[in-house]
C-alpha cells in the first residue's frame, strides 16, 4: 500500500527501482520517484532526508555525510560524518556565542532607544513651552514695529521733495545689480550642474550602444568644454583687473542720465533664451526635478529706502524674534521626526540613527548612513554618487512579520543614464558588529548591501537557537 493510499502494490515492487506510488513512497531507497525522499542515517551527525533525485547521480551530497546516497558504484562517497559532525558542533557553538553576545548588545540598544525616546519627549515638551513665549515676543515686536512706521510716515509727509530722483534711481540700480548678480550666480550653478551631467554621461555611457544622439551629445560636450576652457583663460585676464565694486558703479550710475528700464537688456534676452533651451533640455532628459527648483528660489526681500533709525531698529528686533521662533519650530520638527521614525519594535535601531558605515569594494567605497542616505565614492577620483535616501523597512509585507525589520530600502538616488533612479536594498544579519559585508549591483543601479548588526539578533537566544542554527549557517 502506498503511504497516500492511492494504490496497492506487491511487496516486490518496493525499492525495485520503478516508481509505482504517486507519492513516491514505494521507492525510499532509489531515485525512481521524482518526489521520493531518501533517508541518510549519518551516524555521528544529524540524520537527514534528501530528495530521491540526488540518489546515484554521481555527486556526494553534503547532506548525506555517510555517503549512503551513492551506491551504484559510479562514485565512492566516503563517510565523513565524524568530521562534519565535529565541525558542525563547533560552528553551532560559535554561533550560539555570537548570538548571545549579539543579544546582549541589542539589549543595550533597546535601552538606549528607550532612554532617547524619553529624552526627546521631555525636550519636546520644553520646546513647546519655549515656542509659546517666542510667539508672544514676535507679536509684541510686530506691534512696536508698526508704531514706529506710523510715526515715520507722519514725519515724512512734510519733506517729500528732499528725496531726490537720483536716490530713487540709485536704489533701483542697486536692486537691479543685486538681482543680476544673483542671477548670474544661479546660471553659473546651472551650467556647472549641466556640465557635470554631461561629464557623467560621457564617463558612464555604454559604447556598445552606437547611439548617435549620445555620441553627438558627447562630441558637442567636448567641443564646448574646449571652448569654455579657452574662454575661461581670457576671462581670467579680465578678472585680474579686480572685483567689481558695487558702490563705484552706483557712483558712476548716478552721473548717468535717466535710463529706460522697461525693455529687457541684451543680456537678459540672451539668458532668457538660454533658460528656455535649458529647460527644454532638462525636460528632454527628465532632469527637471533635480535642477529646476534652484531657479525658482526667490531672492528678493522687500525693503524700501529711506527708513528712520527707529524703524530699522524695530524691524531688526522683529526679525530676530521671528527667527528665534522659526529655529524653535525647526527643532520641534526635528524631534517630532525623530520620534516618528520607525526604529523597530523596541526602538533597537535608534542607536544606529545617522551612524555611517563604509565598505571598500575595490573600485568604489560605499557608505550607508542608517536612516539617512547611501553613497558611492570612486576610489580613483573621489567622485561621489548618491544612491538614495532611507525610505522604509522592506523585510516583509507587514510589521507583524518578524522579518519586517531585516531589510531597508533607500531610494531616489541619482538617476542612471538610460536607467532608473539609483536605489539600495540593505539586508541585515545578526552579528556582534555593525559592518557592511558586501555590496553588489545585480541589476544596473539597483544595489544590494549586506550588513551585520546586533540590532536584529534574536533577544531570546535560548528560544531561537535550536530552530535556526541548523539550516541558517550550514
Amino acid at each position: 500500500m502506498c503511504l497516500d493510499g492511492s494504490a496497492t502494490i506487491p511487496y516486490e515492487s518496493i525499492n525495485d527501482d520503478y516508481c509505482d506510488c504517486a507519492d513516491g513512497s514505494d521507492e525510499p531507497g532509489t531515485s525512481a520517484c521524482p518526489n521520493g525522499k531518501f533517508y541518510c542515517t549519518n551516524a555521528g551527525h544529524i540524520p537527514s532526508y534528501i530528495s530521491s533525485k540526488l540518489v546515484n547521480d554521481g555527486v556526494c551530497e553534503p547532506e548525506c555525510c555517510d555517503g549512503s546516497d551513492e551506491y551504484d558504484g559510479k562514485i565512492e562517497c566516503p563517510n565523513i560524518c565524524e568530521k562534519v559532525g565535529a565541525e558542525h558542533r563547533k560552528l553551532a557553538e560559535q554561533l550560539a556565542k555570537k548570538r548571545a553576545e549579539g543579544a546582549r548588545i541589542k539589549r543595550e540598544y533597546i535601552q538606549h532607544g528607550e532612554k532617547l525616546k524619553i529624552q526627546l519627549e521631555s525636550e519636546l515638551n520644553r520646546l513647546k513651552n519655549v515656542l509659546e513665549s517666542a510667539k508672544i515676543k514676535v507679536s509684541e515686536r510686530e506691534v512696536a514695529l508698526k508704531k514706529a512706521q506710523e510715526k515715520e510716515e507722519k514725519e515724512e509727509k512734510g519733506k517729500v521733495e528732499s528725496t531726490t530722483k537720483d536716490q530713487v534711481r540709485i536704489q533701483k540700480y542697486r536692486e537691479k545689480i543685486r538681482t543680476l548678480q544673483e542671477r548670474e550666480e544661479r546660471l553659473r550653478d546651472q551650467v556647472n550642474t549641466l556640465l557635470d551631467i554631461l561629464k557623467n554621461m560621457k564617463k558612464d555611457h555604454n559604447p556598445n550602444y552606437h547611439d548617435m544622439a549620445v555620441k553627438t551629445a558627447i562630441k558637442g560636450y567636448d567641443e564646448l568644454v574646449e571652448e569654455y576652457e579657452s574662454e575661461m583663460e581670457e576671462n581670467m585676464e579680465f578678472d585680474q583687473e579686480g572685483e567689481i565694486d558695487e558702490d563705484e558703479i552706483i557712483e558712476e550710475a548716478s552721473q548717468v542720465p535717466e535710463i529706460d528700464m522697461s525693455p529687457p537688456s541684451l543680456s537678459e534676452r540672451i539668458s532668457d533664451a538660454f533658460l528656455t533651451l535649458y529647460n527644454d533640455f532638462l525636460e528632454t532628459f527628465g532632469l527637471s526635478e533635480y535642477v529646476i527648483h534652484k531657479s525658482e528660489r526667490q531672492f528678493s526681500k522687500s525693503s524700501s529706502g529711506g527708513k528712520s533709525k527707529e524703524v530699522i531698529a524695530a524691524f531688526d528686533a522683529y526679525d530676530k524674534a521671528e527667527e528665534e521662533k522659526k529655529n524653535i519650530e525647526n527643532d520641534l520638527e526635528e524631534i517630532n521626526k525623530k520620534l516618528a521614525k520607525d526604529y523597530g519594535t523596541k526602538r533597537e535601531f535608534a542607536k544606529l540613527d545617522d551612524e555611517c558605515f563604509n565598505h571598500d569594494a575595490g573600485e568604489y567605497t560605499y557608505t550607508v548612513c542608517m536612516f539617512g542616505k547611501a553613497t558611492q565614492k570612486s576610489n580613483k577620483d573621489h567622485a561621489s554618487t548618491h544612491l538614495g535616501y532611507f525610505k522604509k523597512w522592506i523585510g516583509a509585507e507587514s510589521k507583524g512579520d518578524y522579518k519586517y525589520y531585516t531589510a531597508q530600502l533607500y531610494d531616489h538616488g541619482t538617476r542612471c543614464w538610460n536607467g532608473p533612479d539609483r536605489s539600495v536594498k540593505l539586508y541585515l544579519e545578526c552579528d556582534t558588529e555593525n559592518k557592511i559585508l558586501s555590496v553588489t549591483e545585480p541589476e544596473k543601479c539597483e544595489y544590494i548591501i549586506k550588513m551585520t548588526t546586533p540590532a536584529i539578533c534574536p533577544e531570546n537566544v535560548e528560544g531561537n537557537k535550536n530552530k535556526k542554527s541548523n539550516h541558517e549557517e550550514l
Partner: protein, 936 residues
Amino acid sequence: MVVTILVVSAVKPQDFRTCAQTSFCRRNRAYADKATSGSFISPYNVIKDTINIEDGIISGELINTENRVLFIFEIHILINNSVRIRINEKNPLKPRYDRVKYWSLIQEPSNTLEYTENSINGKDMFTSLSFGIDRNHKVIIYHTPFHIELLINDVPIITFNNRGFFNFEHLRKKDDPVNKPELVIQPDINAEEAEIQTEEEKEEKQEEGLWEETFNGKIDSKPNGPESIGLDISFPGFGHVYGIPEHTTTLSLKETRGGDGGYNDPYRLYNLDVFEYDLDSPTALYGSIPFMLAHRKGASAAILWLNAAETWIDIVKSKDDKSFLGFGKATPSTHTHWFSESGIIDVFAFLGPTTSDIFEQYGSLTGFTALPQSFAIGYHQCRWNYLNQRDVAEVDAGFDENDIPYDVIWLDIEHTDGKKYFTWDKTKFSDPEKMQKDIGRKGRKMVTIVDPHVKRDDNYYIYKEAKDLDILIKDKDGKAFDGWCWPGSSVYPDWTNPKAQDWFVKKFAFDQYEGSTEYLFIWNDMNEPAVFSGPEITAPKDLIHYEGWEHRNLHNLFGMAFHAATSQGLINRTNPNHRPFVLSRSFFVGSQRFGPIWTGDNFAKWDHLAASSPMLLTIGISGIPFSGADVGGFFGNPEPELLVRWYQTGAFQPFFRGHAHIDTKRREPWLFGEPYTSYIRDAIRQRYILLPFWYTLFQEASTNGMPIIRPMFVVFPDNEETFAMEDQYFVGNSLLVKPITSQGQTSTEVYFAGKDIYYDYYTFKKVQGSGKVRVDVLMNKIPVFLRGGSIIPRRQRFRRSSLAMYSDPFTLIVALNKKGEATGTLYLDDGKSYEYQKGHYIYRKFNFTSGKFTSTSLNNDQVQNDENNYIRSNKFIKIERIIILGIDKLPKKIIGYYNDLIDDKKELEFKISKDIVIIRNPKLLISNDWTIEFVN
C-alpha cells in the same frame, strides 16, 4: 531612363552600407541591368582549342572580347554528385585571393572518373560530358558566349551565366586608360527626387569608388582598384531557394529587386556586429554562409559560392520561363546573381537529388558538425554579467532550490581584469578554480568569454606575446592596427596567420590560462570582428594580413579562424583529448567543425521569438545544425509570458541558453514567481527528458549532415504546401514543434502533413484530422506532436544536470503509424572524450513491426562488445518503461528475451489505459539485443 526612388526602412541605416553605397554592388547590379536589356551579349567566350578534359576536369581559357583579357576556367566533376567551377585570371597583375578553401574545405575534394565525354554534334558550339554511375547527369559548356548548364535526365537543374551577368574585373593599374572597367550606369538611387543625369555626371559616377571609397567619413584606400567578380546562377523550375544565412528573413528567401513583398537591396553577406538589428531584412549580420539550396517537388540542388569577401546576392523569380525545356508553363524559376568584392570564382554545385543527399554532399566537403560533449545540449544560464563568485554560487544554488536542471553557468566580459581576456577581476573572483570546482562537483560546467581583440597594455602578457611574435594585423601603412573595442584601444592578432593559430592554441593550457580548470569552456564574441571605431563597426578593408593579403579578401572567414584556434586550444589542453565547447557569434563555411553559434543580440520582443525559428532553420540547413537564439531576448525586459514562451521554444532548439544584457532586470527562471517558475521548470525538464533523443540526433548530424531541427519541406519534400512553412518544424523526423509566438494565444493552427498519425507529445492522444488543424494552447506548454512511426528514447528521472543522468534508465516511446510500425535509434557514449571514434559507444536500432519490438546493434565492428569501454562501464543501464501508442490489438501477454538467450523468456508486466500500453520495468539492458513479443 529609369529612375528609382530610395525607400529607407532600417532603424540605423546610417551605420551600414546599402548596395547603392557600395561601388562594386552598384557596378554589378548595373551590369546585370545592362545584360537584361535588349541586345546585350556576354563578351566572355571560350577559346575552343584550349579545352582539355582530363581526370574529371574540363579546363580551358576564356576571353573577354571587349578588352582581350584572358581567364582560365576549370570544371571538376566530383565524387558525391557534385561539380566545382573555378575561374581566375590567366595572367593577373598579382595573385588573387584563393585561400578560402584551406579554411572551409576539410580536404581538396576528389574528382570522379565516372564520366563520359559526349560526342560530337556541334562540338564547336559546346562541350558536353555525362557523369554519375548511370551517366544521367550532364554538364554542358557553351562556348559563345560562355555559359554552363547542369542537367539531370536532360532537365536543366542549375545554370551559370545564362543571363550573361558574368563579370570578372581583372586587376589593373590605376593610370592605364584602356583598363577602365566596362561599366554601365545605374541610376542614382540615392536621389530623393527624380532627376535626369547628364552624360558628365554618369561618367563621374562610373569612376566613383574604383580606387577609393568613403563611408561615414571612413576611407577605404583600395590600392588594387576594382577587382569584383559576379555570376548569375539560375535554378530553372525551382520556385523556392533557402539558405545564405545570416539574415532576419523568411525561410524561403524573398526576391530582392523590388516587386510585391520583395526587398530593394540584395541579400548581403558581410560579418558585422549589428546593434539592435531589424527583422525581415536582407542586411548583413554576424555570420555568412554563401550556400543556397533550391527545392521543388522531386528535386533539390544547391550551390556553395566559396568566397570570403563581401558578397551580395540578388534573387528574382520568374513565373513563366520559356528558356528551359519542360518548364514552359507557369512553373516558377529562381534566378540568382552573386557578386563578391574580390577573390576568384570557386563555386560548388550539389545535385542531390534529395535534401539529405545535399546535406551529406555539403558536409563531406566542408565537414560535419563536431559531436559536442553531452553537457553542451543541456540548458545554459548566462547573463552579462554574473557579478562575482558569490553571485555565481547563489544562481547555481537557485537552480537546486527551485528544482530546475541546468548544465552551464556563463561569465561575460566583466569577469576579466579590465577586459583582458584570460585574466580575472580578483576583487570579484578571488578563487576562480574553487568556483569552477564547486560548480563542477555537481556535474556542471562554466564558460568564460574570450574575444579576438587584445588590450593594448604592455603589462598584459597576451598583448606582449602577440606583439613580440609579430602576428598583429597591420594597417595599410604597416603599423599594428589599433581599433577600439571593450578594453578601449586594442590590437587584433591575425588569426589567419598559422603562427597566431599555433600560439593561441597554447594559451588554453591549464598552466597558461590562470584560474582555468577542466570544467571551464569558452565563448568567442565580437569576432566579426567588431571594431567600434571602424567602418560599419568592423575592420577597415585595407588592413594587411598574413602574406600581405588585404582584409577585404578574407573578412567573412576571420571570425571562424578565431573560433578554430579557440576550439583547438580546448582540445589540446587535456591528455587524452576532450571534445571542446566554444560558442561563436561570427561564422562562415565550416564553422560547424568548431562549435555552436548563436544569433547574437536579439530583443525581448515577441517578433524576435518568432524570428528565431526561420533563422535557426536556415542556419541548420546551411551546414551548422548546432545553433540557438538568446532565450528571453538579449536587449530589454521580457514580460513573464514572453519569457515562458521563449523557454518553451528554446527547449526545442539545438542550442539552449538564457542570456541578457547588463542593463536588463534579472530574469533567472524562478524570479517571476508562480505559475511562471513551474512553466519554465517544465520546459527545461522536457529538454532534459529528451536529451538522449537530442544526443542521438547530434551524433547522426555529425556523420551525415542532417540538420537537427528540420524545416517542413525537408521532412515532406513532395508536399508543396510545406515549402514556405517556417512557423512549425521538426526535431529529427519525429517531433513536430509549433512555437507560440504571440501574447495571450489560446489556440493555434498546426499543419499535419501527409497521412501520418500524430500523437500529442504530452497526453499521447491521437490528433484528429489532418492538414491544417486548430489546436488549443495552454500556458504551460507549446504544441508538440509525435509523428507516428517513430520511437523516441527518453530519460525521465529529474536530475540537476545532464551528467547526473549518466546512468539513468530509459523510457522508450513507441508511436505506431497506420501500419502498426515504428523505428528509432539511440546513440550513447561517454559524452566527453574521443573514445567513440575508436568504437566505444552504444548505437541501437529499435524496430516495432507485426507485434514484435526489437533492439539491435548499429555499432560498427571497430571493437567487440566485451572490449567496448563504454559498454563495459555502463553494462547495467536498463530500460525501465516502454510506452506503446496507437496499438491496434491490445495484447494479452507480453514476452521479452535477449536474442542470445532465446530459451529464457520472461513475461513482462504491463498496464493498458485506453489504447496505450505501458510495459512496467522490463529491466532489459540497453546494450544488449532483445526482442519483445506481443501475444494477443
